[in-house]
């Protein structure tokens, strides 16, 4: 088994105003999707959900506001999964709720420490 990070990206659309019912559906979809991975015993870490506040620091103390560098996509969060291959991890990303709102999932292999 190897570990892979799933990075969720979406276009920044500013403050999303969802009704509380809408919010509930979104979080239910995420919970069910992650619960499904955990049910296969393939969730290595729940990782982190990222908020909209951010700053980018460049050499020479150049600081820009916002989490996005050049592109308009921002990283919304990440989880770490266990899979035999990157193909299997990609398969697991099917059904990720971010895909249904125009976002995408980037999968990267994790390099184990001390290797």
């Amino acid at each position: 088994m190897h570990e892979f990070v799933m990075i969720f990206r979406n276009e920044s659309v500013g403050e999303i105003k969802l009704s509380s019912e809408g919010m509930l559906t979104v979080s239910k979809d995420w919970e069910n999707w992650i619960g499904g991975i955990a049910a296969q015993n393939k969730l290595a870490s729940t990782g982190a959900r990222l908020g909209g506040d951010g700053k980018t620091i460049r050499p020479g103390n150049v600081v820009t506001n916002g989490p996005y560098a050049e592109i308009k996509e921002i990283i919304g969060g990440l989880i770490i999964v266990k899979a035999d291959s990157i193909e299997e991890a990609a398969e697991m990303a099917n059904g990720c709720p971010i895909l249904s709102i125009g976002g995408n999932v980037e999968i990267r292999n994790v390099i184990a420490m001390n290797n």
């Binding site: 919970e31 069910n32 992650i34 619960g35 499904g36 955990a38 049910a39 296969q40 969730l43």
Partner: protein, 408 residues
Amino acid sequence: MQEKELIPHLYRTEFRKITAVLTRVFGIEHMEVAEDLVGDTFLQAAETWGLKGVPPNPAAWLYTVAKNKAKDMLKHDAIFNQKVVDAVKLASSQTHEIDIDLSGENIKDSQLQMMFAICHPGIPPEAQIGLALRILCGFGIEEIAVAFLSNKETINKRLFRARERLKELNVKIEFPPESEINNRIGNVLTTLYLLFNEGYYSSTKDKVLSKDLCLEAMRLTYMLIENKGTDLPYVNALLSLMCFHASRFEARTNAKGELVLYDEQDTTLWNQELITQGEYYLNKAATGTELSKYHLEAAIAYWHTTTNPDKWEKILPLYNRLLIIEYSPIAALNRTYALAKVYGNEKAIEEAEKLNLDNNHLYHTLLGELYIDIDTDQALQHLESALKLTRSSADKKLITRKIKKLSA
């Protein structure tokens, strides 16, 4: 109470108390000496009471006789005495007479400390449960053997090895320091939960015995709650969970001793008193910031005790969170069942097939269930696989019943 019933009854309630106190005085390496001494005390009780009649306060009689036997042993067995006296000297400033304190307070403390000593991560879980049943619950070797579907020799060997291991590890009978309670209590709770499950999912046909195991696990958990230092939210959550499960004890087997599935249970047989107690401890558990797996399992068990039509919508996210904290095949299967209840069987089948639990009979039982109205052939195939994989005769009966119904 008749004398014939009195001694077994006292054995069940008093053996563990005296043994805990004596073992604490003698040191864990002499646990067996304490057990034998208390055993002798009961033999003497049977002989004496048979001839002279039962004393007015039988428990006090047992305490006095056990205490005298212990003092005699310390007086006459010089080597044993030296070892114990040395150990006691190290532990306290006391120098001459060793005090054997059988007061209620000291009995409680000794039993709690014994619980921490026995539920030690250094000894295998089934040995911990065996020792807990013997020392903390006063079960006879025979009963333990029946509970484990084993024989006396195997159990004796297992207990012997466990005692040896406690000696090797030099486990002390004492409360862990406050700063360490959180680290140590996790293992105690795991063992108590295993003990409960041993009774609840027991393969022994002896219904009284399996219920006893559950009640003992609950009693020990309650002892932790009664003690201020261990009255922690997740301990309350565990007791709550046990109460909710135990509330269905009568409903989950029929007159023939066969298992009755949750959906088919007569809800009037659910024990409302235990459900109310479960709610009480669940409320007590709802403090602090930590959401433990016991909290989640208790909440799931709570919803199972209700007839609320939306309960599966509440149960599914709880299983999601439980699996995120700690994976287990049974939680994965139960989550899939909840998913079917909320989103339908087709969606659940899709998720079930990813679970990779081909060797688990419950996996095939679940799929058999989910396929029933979708694809009878598939349903039958899975039920046949389940039948091949299960070893429990109660489960076999249940699956056979389903296959018959489906192929009719």
